[in-house]
Amino acid sequence: MNKEADLLIIGGGVVGTAIARELAKYKLDITLIEKKSDVGSGVSKANTGLIHAGFNAEASKIKGRLNVEGNKMYDQLKEELKFPFERRGALVVAQDEDDIPRLESILENGKKNGVPDLEIIKGEKLFELEADLNPDSVAALYAPTAAIVCPYELTVALAENAAVNGVEVLLNTAAKSIEVKKDHKVVYTNRGQIKAKVVINAAGLYADEVAKMVGIDDIDITPRKGEYHVYDKKLGSQINHTIFPVPTGVSKGIVVTPTVDGNLLVGPNAQEIDDKTDISTTSQGLENILQGAKKTLPKLSRRGVINQFTGLRPAYKETGDFIIEASDKVDGFINVAGIQSPGLSSAPAIAKMVREILAEILGGLEANKDFNPYRQEVVRFRELSVQEQAKLIKEDPRYGEVICRCEMVTKGEIIDSINRPVGANSVRAVRRRTRAGMGRCQGGFCGPRVVDILVKELGIDHTEVTEDGGDSRILLERAKESLLKEVSE
């Protein structure tokens, strides 16, 4: 590969794809590279999926401003890109009268950030909002603008819309080194080189390493690990809001939240680690988050847990803030780093801020009149009315074949997820887009069927299908293959 572009974005997480989609509104030749086999498969896929109201981030920081701004942008984004998003509201619950002043100071901070409609709720009213709260609860800060989102579907939607509007998205493409020339940069990847006028570093956990490629060595990204339990859909309706305990210095505490898919999610803890690839769960960590969650919702136990996962937040400890700036050392190089929480909430606002920085570098941007902000609707069979379902099956019988029974996902939806722009190419990529295999049986029944569909749609062999890209092959060889080899030798 030997390519040229006006702009190269390194990193296909929610930040990189949000930037790509925002800049696709202008006449620019844009390439986005992602080293993994799917967009949103690093930091962006494994988090709490919250669009924070914005009362936590300190008003003095970039975060404080961008969180609230980003939150407001989500309504329009949801209309255009059609990803699951619900404004459920959040509660920060105090179980001790002594914590009420703390709630008041959070409310004050929120007001400074411009968070609308914050209020403190006390006594019985609290239990009207959430009946199963710990009976010790005395008061809560209520933030109605807080929302929940599906973070991987959001990222996929952004990437898809960017691609439809001309952005070239290259998966399995990792930046290895960067050569800084007078008026451009050459980015060397595992798949060849890309020459670009401006490079945007949105490499998440690896933003420090990408920065080092151009000689910027004062950014250090520390992975901060957080573990989660996912509960069966039967338990998702137990609560209506995202519920936080009163925060401590280090973290926002163990959150209990419904997800847009109807599950219940609890977590995360926070542990600073060295290894950026360590997404393992630990028995201690899982126990701790369960205990933490039980303080909020005493009814919870291990019963109904269907899965666990770990997410890493890319923390820039120096300031604890986002870095969003054109480098003063290297012309035409923009760092978007340290995007930990509330990164998901801020993503649209981050993209806007990067657009302003880029406009300054390039001396203005020319609008792309052909830009189509709308993403083609994704069929979610389970959400259709019976009449709509019947009609759809008549039009396309592939929607009459249910592949994933736990989540009610049809063959038509899976094929569509593979064939859309920036489509799924692995079992988990299908899972992230359609939820096939995300339910209580965790793909035990539909896994082999999804493998079959990938084989047919991608025209590959069974032994080439991966769980999640790279070397994560599912089937290693034909049965008896090695035995037959032995015999023939």
Binding site: H229, V230, T277, D278, I279, S280, T281, T282, S283, G285, L286, R302, V305, I306, N307, Q308, F309, V386, Q389, A390, I393, K394, P397, R398, G400, E401, V402, R405, C406, M408, R440, C441, Q442, G443, G444, F445, G447, P448, D452, H462, T463, T466, E467, D468, G469, G470, D471, S472, R473, I474, L475, L476, E477, R478, A479, K480, E481, S482, L483
Partner: protein
């Protein structure tokens, strides 16, 4: 909406559904429909290509597909309707079934009676929360069985199996025969969860070690599984610090339990028993919704398909009696309670009288291995029935035919069933 109606609709075309449909038809129910979500009948038996099926029911040794085929043929010859590739979405309390398939679209089927025979699913890594990374290569034993026996591909070459239930044992042998190295079978409990004959024929015959009181405490590997950490567990089944050791492997098969698949039943308002995970039923395998029956692994997890057949025939027979208004309610319901050393009993109650009935079949499972034991049925303090069992094994279901004459004499509303004997 495509509307249809049947006397009896059987949800699930595995061994339970097939036997129930056949029996109901033979008892005179004319319009019978089986709904199956897969492309063929037979259910999980189709991927169980090993032998050992049918010793009780057919008095000969068959493979899974052979056992299934006998029922598929007899159902076919009886003119029982079958819908394949059809997914049941909902069963309503007034016995309407909503289902879809590619050819007919959305179906609303009115049923005089319904037999639930949806089988079970496997417990997953997530449900037992094994810590560690999330690489490819950690799959349930049943999924591996499907990949190998149905699709012809090997999901791993260096394998450890967690759980010594029958599927785990069968898969140890299968993986070995297909060219994989099986390092060990690990079992959390101090005893195996599988049939003795499977331990002998699947592990001992191939020198595969069975390690009791051990479990997986960490999973290693980024993209594909690289190793697991194994720990000894104490009497409370908690890992003992300091006993950890590592096994390098590319595959971990999980055979850590089966869960009756009752989401549809639950949504229909059918009451479930937390011990079995299946519906609470009377001796005719009728649920709390009149005219809705359950049998096979959706009711409780069986170890032998022969017992599934036997139980499903009970459900099929009662469904026909129900449709012909032949069922008379007892004045007093008798509740059956699982007492000492018993983890569960099915049915949970006796509620009807049926003319000419000689006995009521009870199925139960012991809690722990015992020998020289006795199953005792108590009416108050009085022993009304006993049955000797030389060995009690949690892996092996105990069946007991309670004579109608004994039931007639019961005076209490609650009857306790317990096991006494020497704990092994």
């Amino acid at each position: 909406m495509n509307r249809q109606s049947y006397d009896l609709v059987v949800v699930g075309g595995g061994p339970a559904g097939l036997a129930a449909a056949q029996e109901a038809y033979d008892q005179g129910v004319e319009e019978v429909l089986i709904i199956e979500r897969d492309f063929e009948l037979g259910g999980i038996l189709q991927q169980c290509i090993h032998n050992g099926f049918g010793l009780h029911h057919f008095k000969e040794e068959l493979t899974g597909p052979e056992y299934a085929q006998r029922f598929i043929e007899s159902v076919g010859s009886r003119g029982i309707d079958v819908k394949l590739n059809t997914m049941v979405l909902e069963v309503s309390p007034d016995k309407k079934i909503y289902a879809i398939n590619s050819e007919e679209g959305m179906l609303e089927i009115e049923a005089g009676a319904i037999i639930l025979a949806m089988g079970c699913r496997e417990r997953t890594r997530g449900a037992i929360a094994i810590p560690g990374s999330r690489p490819a290569g950690v799959i349930t034993a049943g999924a591996a069985q499907r990949y190998i026996n149905m699709e012809g591909y090997l999901p791993g070459k260096k394998v450890v199996i967690l759980g010594s239930g029958d599927i785990g044992l069968i898969m140890a042998r299968r993986m070995h025969l297909e060219g994989a190295e099986v390092e060990a079978v690990l079992e959390l409990m101090p005893f195996s969860g599988g049939l003795t004959r499977n331990i002998v024929q699947c592990l001992d015959d191939f020198d595969i070690p069975l390690r009791l009181s051990q479990t997986v405490t960490e999973i290693h590997g980024q993209e594909r599984l690289e190793a697991i950490t194994v720990s000894q567990v104490d009497e409370n089944l908690k890992p003992i610090a300091g006993t950890e050791y590592k096994i390098e492997c590319d595959t971990l098969l999980l055979s850590v339990g089966l869960i009756p698949e009752n989401e549809i039943s639950d949504e229909a308002g059918i009451r479930l028993n937390p011990r079995t995970g299946g519906p609470i039923v009377n001796e005719g395998r009728e649920t709390n919704i009149e005219g809705v029956f359950a049998c096979g692994n959706v009711l409780h997890v069986h170890d032998l398909v022969d017992y599934v057949t036997e139980e499903s025939k009970i459900a099929g027979k009662t469904a026909s009696e129900y449709l012909n208004n032949k069922i008379e309610k007892r004045e007093d319901e008798i509740e059956l309670i699982a007492g000492d050393n018993l983890s569960y009993i099915v049915p949970q109650k006796i509620t009807t009288k049926v003319k000419g009935r000689k006995r009521v079949d009870l199925y139960m499972r012991g809690k722990r291995p015992m020998k020289n034991a006795k199953v005792i049925i108590l009416d108050g303090d009085k022993e009304i029935f006993t049955k000797k069992e030389r060995f009690i094994k949690p892996a092996e279901m105990i069946s007991l035919a309670l004579p109608e004459k004994v039931i007639d004499k019961v005076t209490s509303k609650k009857v306790e069933v317990k096991i006494v004997g020497e704990v092994e």
